[in-house]
């Protein structure tokens, strides 16, 4: 299950990267069209917003796999190994629960939007298409958190579990 979770998370974060690059390209095209061609492209603003939802929901599973979601690190660094393990387990279980709720609620939202035929500002694009990113991202997050929880319950050590949280800032810019 760990391998499957890792594979899914890596594919998802790659797609998240693609979404970010497309978003960047669209914004640049929008600027060029508005200021150089004097032909503003209105749909770019909407699509860019959806792409941010894609970036967040598709990168969140990999961030979870690497234990990068922002929390309070200090207590984990100041307690015994056993207590620290329990605290990491609590964190993983909380992600599992939130992902499950988001999956159910996100799916209900998608189903409802689809049922009543809700549209967006873009012709021919139903609202449930971008909304689908919420349950999809939540499902991937659920798989990653479930794999981590199972590893912990079996007495194992999930990949990337921090040793000393204070030694590595969560800011990824600060790791380069």
């Amino acid at each position: 299950m760990n391998r499957l979770a890792a594979l899914l998370a890596r594919v998802a974060v790659a797609l998240s990267g693609v979404a970010l690059v497309v978003c960047f390209a669209l914004i640049c095209i929008g600027v060029f069209a508005r200021y150089v061609l004097a032909m503003p492209i209105a749909w770019i603003d909407h699509v860019a917003g959806w792409l941010v939802v894609a970036v967040v929901m598709l990168a969140a599973p990999e961030a979870q796999r690497r234990f990068e979601h922002i929390g309070v690190d200090v207590p984990v660094g100041r307690v015994s190994m056993r207590t620290a393990r329990l605290m990491f387990m609590a964190g993983i279980l909380s992600v599992l629960v939130v992902a499950a709720i988001l999956l159910i609620e996100g799916w209900e939202t998608v189903s409802f939007s689809r049922m009543i035929g809700m549209g967006t500002n873009l012709e021919d694009v139903p609202l449930w298409w971008p909304q689908l990113l919420i349950p999809v991202g939540a499902a991937l997050l659920l798989v990653v958190a479930a794999a981590q929880a199972l590893t912990m319950l079996r007495g194992g050590r999930p990949e990337h579990l921090p040793d000393t949280p204070n030694d590595t800032p969560r800011d990824l810019l600060a790791r380069e």
Partner: protein, 426 residues
């Protein structure tokens, strides 16, 4: 009182090991189930919170910063600043402040500024006779400029949450940011001697090529901010075109990045965005819970009935934010406090741009406040110095930031003059 209890419950959950986004989400959901019995349209609320055009600026600014950090621009910046200031009293420290200020504008991250500049500057400062206390303090303090000097991701989020103009906030942060940098530089000048350079010593190289490359790096914040201030770009467009500009500089001028590096930067920027904006997922439920319980309205009515006035309220909030800053990071503090504070600000006629800068200054102070201070952890990691020594080094900078906050409460014009002059209103 209910709000303070909720904050205390949230902090307990976080100290149990929960990430901030799940802590906010589960606490709010629990309270809603206990009081309302149900939560309506949760998926829609989460989607609507994440789907905002202004938020697009955050991943793009992240991408711009990742590109520039991978371009290794800070080496040249520091060398050029040091070459110019090597004969000045406290010059090596002032060069660090300048490098921090410029890199802060490029990266928008305090921790990244402290780490990237610190790795280069601390060995040089110690080599040229600066005290350990002075060297550690100036990097930790200078690093805090990352979120105040625009462009700044926390300011974009604050603008999104409070529906304030990003351009006005960026303009408002500029003068206080530069004043803080000047204060830090003056402190170096007052407390440190001239760099001790022996005759045969080889100084960091700062030839014409290094200086011209530094000017390219310096031109990035000028391009981004100039575009916003002159009304050419929106903040999101500035972030997009700024990233394009950063790509051009690193590829054509610095030639320090490969395609592989760039892709790694893209993935890292995506993960950083997820780490920060997943907090919005939790905040979506939290905001809904606060509204359902009518906490913001109750607090606004209470504060107005007490008659403590704007200054009294601001001081109380600054103390609260500082305490929260010891535990939470900047995005969480903005998302946790603003839904409650904004109605009170409105009732007391507090300018949201002014408050935004005050909040950012306060968040900066939290970044260097022991015992939980990321910038101090960074310096400990770079130098291996005991945390107690690093903690002591930062006290003068905390004091200067506190003076900055007090001055800004007393004289809002320090922040508001520039945006008003530029026609942002308010």
């Amino acid at each position: 009182m209910t709000f303070l209890l909720l904050l205390a419950a949230l902090i307990v959950l976080l100290y149990l090991g929960l990430p901030i986004f799940t802590g906010l989400f589960l606490l709010s959901l629990g309270v809603l189930w206990a009081t309302e019995g149900t939560v309506a349209a949760l998926g829609e609320q989460v989607f609507n919170q994440l789907d905002g055009y202004l938020l697009v600026a955050i991943p793009l600014f992240m991408l711009m910063a990742h590109v520039m950090v991978r371009g290794r621009v800070v080496d040249d910046l520091y060398a050029a600043a040091f070459a110019l200031l090597k004969r000045v009293r406290g010059g090596v420290g002032i060069a660090t402040v300048i490098a921090c200020t410029i890199f802060a504008a490029i990266s928008g991250s305090s921790v990244a500024t402290a780490l990237t500049v610190g790795k280069i500057a601390i060995p040089q400062m110690l080599r040229y006779g600066m005290s350990r206390k002075g060297a550690f303090g100036v990097v930790a303090g200078g690093g805090t400029l990352g979120i105040l000097i625009p462009p700044s991701a926390p300011m974009v989020l604050y603008a999104y949450v409070t529906e304030t103009s990003v351009g006005a906030l960026f303009a408002a942060g500029l003068i206080p940011g530069l004043l803080m940098a000047a204060m830090f530089a003056l402190y170096c000048m007052a407390t440190e001697g001239r760099p001790t350079i022996s005759a045969d010593e080889e100084l960091p190289r700062a030839d014409a090529r290094t200086i011209s490359r530094s000017l390219w790096a310096l031109s990035l914040p000028a391009f981004v901010l100039g575009g916003i201030y002159l009304g050419v770009f929106t903040a999101t467009e500035a972030a997009g075109t700024g990233t394009l500009y950063a790509l051009a500089i690193t590829a054509l001028v610095y030639r320090a990045v490969t395609l592989r590096d760039l892709w790694q930067g893209v993935e890292d920027a995506a993960r950083t965005t997820a780490m920060l904006l997943m907090i919005i997922v939790g905040a979506a439920v939290y905001g809904y819970m606060l509204t359902k319980l009518r906490i913001p309205q109750q607090l606004a009515e209470l504060v107005v009935s007490w008659g403590i006035g704007r200054t009294g309220f601001l001081i109380a909030v600054m103390v609260l934010v500082f305490i929260l800053g010891l535990v939470l990071e900047s995005f969480s503090i903005i998302l946790v406090t603003m839904p409650v504070i904004q109605p009170v600000m409105h009732a007391l006629d507090i300018d949201p741009v002014w408050y935004g800068v005050l909040l950012t200054l306060n968040l900066e102070m939290a970044l260097i406040s022991p015992p939980v201070a990321l910038n101090l952890v960074v310096i400990k990691a770079i130098t291996g110095a005991p945390l107690s020594e690093v903690n002591r080094s930062i006290m003068p900078y905390m004091l200067m930031l506190a003076v900055g906050i007090a001055a800004l409460i007393y004289a809002p014009g320090i922040a508001l003059w520039l945006p008003r002059t530029m026609g942002y209103g308010g």
